[in-house]
């Protein structure tokens, strides 16, 4: 995102605040948008009940702080943001926010609401001194399709409000299998944030991947196949940027594997094969009293709660195949859980576009405000809003990305895939756009960008190319140029680019808004 666009958006919000200075509701909303532009990106974790949202959140944070339980657990929208000291604040729907005491049981936070009822709480905000929260504000939401409907409503109201931009800039959508409810929710999240500038800003996570194959040791491989099928599924493709399988419990617990747990796992792994199998046949058998091992029943219950039957099985296999210390085991478990892959995707899609996604929220907010309460001076605002939307190349990329995902570009399959990659469909780093390895040297980047640029420019100028395709080509060419501009110091790249680009197509009124 170019700084020029960012500051233009900030400017727009400030101007709007000026116009609406005497309207307290509008002012408050606008102040919120301005603040939001400066804060870290807001990523919400959403999904059906018990899909593993809080577990995933813990895994991303790297500490087991969000409460998790066998029953339905998260009932209030909870924000996790960075703070130097741990602090919990309750924001009621009416009245002033108040601080709650920071109480932890087994590491997990417990929220004592006191006399306040859950329905009267707008949100809980947890400030926590963890590095990963510096880049994102993570938002834990209650599950959709819950039996207690008011709980689900709280989520939908926060993520897909009727009249204002969504409370989250992007979502990580957690699902166990693709249900109709999942699709409906993702669709309404997209349609809500779409406005005129449609985009896709959700990642789907196939959670509890370790349970897919009845906890067999090859479960994660099956999960990978299923994720691959969903990735190709057209209805989901239009709604999510990617699908990754994740063994959430494993990811969460592997990040803080304790020495005592490691010792217990080693002892269990060294048991005789028959005894081991007898122990692992069911969870009830695993925790039942037995004299074959010195690991106490309580310790086994704790292991089971932390790692699940699959995690224990996997750890035992790893230990027997030669992993000797707890760090290596933790590392290996985390690697297999699929967490790295998810974090990579999050950073590729969300972090790289953070400024853009935040600006979008502000733009949609201002747009809604202008539509709902027009007054003197709003025409000027509307004009500058349209200018920002039309000029920023990043918005055009996002719009095109949405088109690729929803209705297709009308290009040959290989070309369409390449176009999608170049405009950032696989992530916004130059390496990802060009389809190169993450550590590719600059020279290679430059060369590859140049090749792409030439090919697309040739296609754009081909007289047989129809107008729609030519427009796509122009966007792609711009993306390639931006890549080159970022990597070529001096003006050589830019000059050639401008020389060959040719005249802009004559702009006709009304076209930009209708494309």
């Amino acid at each position: 995102m170019s700084d020029a666009t960012s500051s233009a958006v900030l400017e727009l919000v400030r101007d709007a605040a000026d116009v609406y200075r005497d309207d307290p509701t509008a002012s408050r909303a606008l102040k919120g948008y301005a603040l939001r532009l400066e804060e870290p990106l807001r990523v919400a974790v959403a999904g059906m009940v018990k899909a593993g949202k809080s577990t995933l959140l813990n895994a991303i944070i790297g500490e087991q702080i969000a409460p998790t339980d066998a029953g339905e657990c998260t009932r209030i929208v909870t924000w996790y943001r960075y703070g130097d000291t741990p602090r919990v604040t309750l924001h009621p729907t009416v009245g002033k926010p108040r601080a709650l005491s920071v109480a932890r049981v087994d590491g997990q936070l417990t929220f004592d609401l006191g006399t306040t009822r859950a329905e009267d709480v707008k949100r809980l905000v947890v400030h926590w001194p963890v590095k990963s929260l510096r880049e994102f504000t993570l938002i834990d939401t209650p599950g959709i399709a819950s039996l207690s409907e008011d709980v689900s409503v709280r989520s939908t109201r926060f993520l897909t409000p009727e009249t204002s931009p969504s409370g989250a800039d992007a979502i990580v959508y957690v699902m166990r299998h693709l249900h109709a409810a999942d699709l409906n929710f993702l669709r309404s999240f997209r349609d809500n944030t779409v406005g005129e500038a449609g985009t896709v800003n959700a990642l789907a996570v196939l959670s509890r991947a370790d349970e897919i194959g009845a906890g067999r040791i090859d479960s994660l491989l099956s999960a990978r196949d299923i994720a691959e099928r969903y990735r190709r599924d057209d209805s989901l493709r239009a709604l999510a940027l990617g699908v990754v399988p994740l063994a959430g419990l494993l990811a969460q617990s592997a990040r803080d594997l304790r020495q005592t747990e490691f010792a217990a796992l080693v002892e269990l792994a060294r048991l005789d094969r028959n005894e081991r199998e007898r122990l692992m046949i069911s969870v009830d058998r695993f925790v039942r009293f037995t004299d074959v091992t010195t690991v106490s029943s309580e310790a086994r219950v704790a292991l089971l709660n932390r790692f699940g039957l699959f995690g224990i099985r996997l750890a035992m296999v790893l230990i027997r195949s030669g992993v000797t210390d707890s760090t290596a085991l933790a590392h290996e478990l985390a690697r297999r859980s699929g967490l790295n892959e998810l974090l990579n995707l999050v950073s590729a899609h969300f972090q790289g576009r953070a400024a853009l996604l935040k600006s979008r929220a502000a733009i949609i907010g201002v747009e809604a405000l202008l539509r709902a309460r027009p007054r003197v001076g709003t025409e000027r605002l509307a004009a500058s809003l349209e200018r920002i939307q039309a000029n920023a190349h990043e918005f055009r990329e996002l719009r095109m990305l949405a088109t690729v995902r929803t209705s297709g570009l009308g290009l040959a399959a290989s070309l369409a895939a390449e176009a999608e990659r170049l405009i950032g469909g696989q992530g916004v780093t130059p390496q990802r756009r060009l389809g190169l390895a993450d550590e590719a040297p600059d020279a290679q980047l430059r060369e590859s960008a140049m090749t792409h640029l030439r090919r697309w420019r040739a296609l754009a100028e081909d007289p047989l190319t129809d107008r729609a395709t030519a427009e796509i080509c122009h966007v792609v060419v711009r993306s390639c140029e931006a890549l080159l501009a970022a990597h070529v110091k001096g003006s050589a790249g830019r000059v050639t680019a401008r020389l060959v680009l040719g005249p802009e197509p004559p702009s006709r009124p009304g076209e930009h808004t209708h494309d």
């Binding site: 039996l147 409810a181 349970e211 009845a214």
Partner: protein, 609 residues
């Protein structure tokens, strides 16, 4: 079961001695029902809850395919049979059986090949259009007529799955809702449960995969709470299919007990099988009692007339009066007939209103959606949404109509105040294939303009502009094509282009609305017709059912009157013989009646079977 069969056989023998073809037919039908019992238990649940594995564990054989991804795409029926075998049911192309339903072809296949036919892998989205598959296994669990139906998961990507499952429910005797122990019930599951309970009252819940989730007891408790809020006494069985399969392999009875299956099997045998058996015994007893009662009446009147000649005229008069009452029931103007025909026409009117009302609200929503945006690009999505809403609304109407039809039948039965009158079996709620005659929604022109079209539209406008301004500027001596006229051309051209675009959008919206409207019309027309047909069938079925009962009464009373009159003309010698004969006959009938009565007040444990 054997004693019941013997009883009915004796009943038939007794009845055939007299000249009562009608009673004989009724008892023969009872016998047929007895000899081929079939208790259908349908296993339902969202996908990936372990339904197929549950059935496999129950019968201890890998009959239903299990996979990490979605596995079952065709309903599979598992029932008793020796030797093990499997068939698939395919609709015969072009052939229709007498009642208009497509005829099915039963094609035997190897039991090992079953997976290739019913799994999502071998037959994605049921490409081969199988109706069902049947597997026969020699298993003790299945003896006694239990058949298990493995259904594709509900709540899947398309709700057509859940519709087929609901459609299959009215023909099932019981339903097992499977949900795994990873989490408590979700809103769609409970919604499905509520809907299913309206169609099939025998519902039990199974909590599967307890071997994998340490917190399954907590989940079971939470589920118990949810179930209690739906209805009381829905049993919940935590089970582990894998444990049961392990147990079978290791011959470990302790492990089997841990799997939770023994309780479930006991439930199936005592509650489901037991209950249907109790029902069956009751209906057999009912049939025997009423047939013997009819027989006894004639013989008894003849006997009294023979032994007590003085009381004869009074008896004949009483019998005549009773016969008149029975005649009254047979007449078209009888009260029950009126109730029935009025009820059916009310029902048809209500049903039409209900259907129309539901369809109109769908139409309103669709039109609103069309008005809000360009229907071109989102047409496919809209069509899917429309079809889903229509299917859901139609199934609601069907369930509701079926409930009302049952109620009507009960209402008619009230007119037959004599002993409990069995209700006719009604099937209206079956929604399978109702939507088949409805044409699929037509294709909407997506409204993408080709480049040539765009240029053409633009040119049309700019041509006029160039000409107009060219002529004007010609006055001051400029040529026809000059910068001003070209500028005006571009301006007007783009304006025309924009207008044209808007006009096309509006036209497309209008077109989309027309398509939706005509589709809804089509649905109302076709579904309304089918519903009406079915209600007429219900009316006819109910009428025949009750006329038969009225006929039986009439014939019995008529026979009694005849017998009593005949007795008067009988000679003394013959009379002694006749009295003797009637007495022995009456003793036999009395015997049978006693046995039939013994069947009726049910001992709680019908254990021996």
């Amino acid at each position: 079961m054997v004693d019941l069969v013997k009883l009915v056989a004796r009943g038939i023998e007794l009845v055939s001695a007299g000249d009562r073809q009608d009673l004989r037919q009724r008892l023969e039908q009872t016998l047929r029902r007895l000899l081929d019992p079939s208790i259908r238990v349908i296993v339902v649940g969202e996908f990936k809850q372990g339904k197929s594995q549950f059935i496999n564990a129950l019968v201890n054989a890998p009959v239903c395919p299990v996979d990490d991804d979605i596995a079952t795409s065709v309903p599979t029926v598992v029932r008793h049979g020796e030797p093990p075998s499997a068939v698939i049911l395919i609709p015969k192309v072009g052939a229709e059986s007498a009642n208009g339903e497509p005829a099915l072809e039963r094609r035997p296949i190897k039991i090992e090949d079953l997976a290739a036919h019913v799994s999502e892998k071998g037959n994605p989205g049921n490409r081969h259009r199988l109706v069902a598959a049947e597997v026969f296994l020699p298993r003790k669990v299945l003896a006694g007529g239990l058949s298990l139906i493995d259904s594709p998961g509900v709540g899947g990507l398309d709700s057509a799955h859940s519709l087929t499952t609901l459609a299959a429910l009215p023909t099932a005797d019981a339903m097992l809702l499977v949900s795994d122990a990873s989490q408590e019930y979700t809103a769609p599951e409970i919604q499905f449960l509520r809907q299913a309970m309206r169609v099939s009252p025998n519902v039990a819940c199974v909590l599967s995969k307890t071997d994998m989730y340490p917190q399954w007891r907590q989940v079971a408790e939470a589920n118990r709470g949810h179930l209690d809020r739906v209805a009381r006494d829905i049993p919940l069985f935590p089970v582990s299919s894998d444990l049961r399969l392990h147990a079978a392999r290791l011959q470990d009875s302790e492990l089997n007990a841990e799997s939770g299956f023994p309780a479930l099997v006991a439930y199936l045998r005592t509650d489901i099988l037991g209950q249907t058996e109790r029902l069956q015994r009751r209906s057999v007893a009912q049939d025997l009692l009423s047939s013997t009662e009819h027989l006894r009446l004639a013989l008894q009147s003849e006997l009294s007339s023979l032994t007590d000649p003085e009381g004869r005229p009074q008896m004949i008069a009483e019998l005549e009066a009773a016969k008149d009452r029975a005649d009254e029931l047979r007449r078209r103007s009888a009260r029950w007939q009126i109730t029935l025909s009025d009820g059916v026409s009310d029902l048809i009117a209500d049903m039409e209103y209900d259907l129309r009302d539901r369809m109109r609200s769908i139409q309103r929503d669709a039109e609103q959606a069309i008005d809000e945006a360009d229907p071109g690009p989102m047409w496919d999505e809209l069509v899917i949404w429309l079809e889903k809403r229509v299917a859901a609304a139609v199934s609601d109407t069907f369930i509701w109509t079926s409930e009302r039809a049952q109620w009507l039948a009960a209402q008619v039965a009230e007119h037959f105040t004599q002993d409990e009158v069995p209700l006719p079996v009604l099937h209206v709620a079956d929604t399978e294939e109702v939507l088949d005659p409805v044409h699929s929604v037509s294709v909407l022109n997506p409204g993408r303009l080709g480049p040539i079209q765009k240029i053409f539209i633009g040119m049309r406008g700019s041509y006029g502009g160039v000409l107009m301004f060219g002529l004007l500027t010609g006055i001051v001596g400029m040529s026809l094509i000059n910068p001003i006229s070209i500028g005006a051309g571009v301006l007007i051209g783009s304006k025309v282009y924009k207008d044209e675009k808007e006009a096309r959008l509006r036209r497309r919206q209008g077109e989309a609305k027309t398509i939706v409207r005509s589709h809804i019309d089509d649905v109302i027309f076709q579904v309304g017709k089918q519903l009406k047909d079915r209600l007429r069938l219900v009316q006819r079925g109910t009428r025949d059912h009750f006329s038969e009962i009225a006929d039986e009464h009439h014939r019995s009373l008529g026979n009694s009157v005849l017998a009593a009159q005949k007795a008067a003309t009988t000679y003394n010698v013959e009379r002694e013989q006749r009295i003797q004969y009637i007495k022995t006959e009456l003793v036999r009938i009395g015997d049978l009646r006693k046995q039939a009565q013994a069947l009726q007040p049910m001992p709680a444990a019908a254990g021996s079977m």
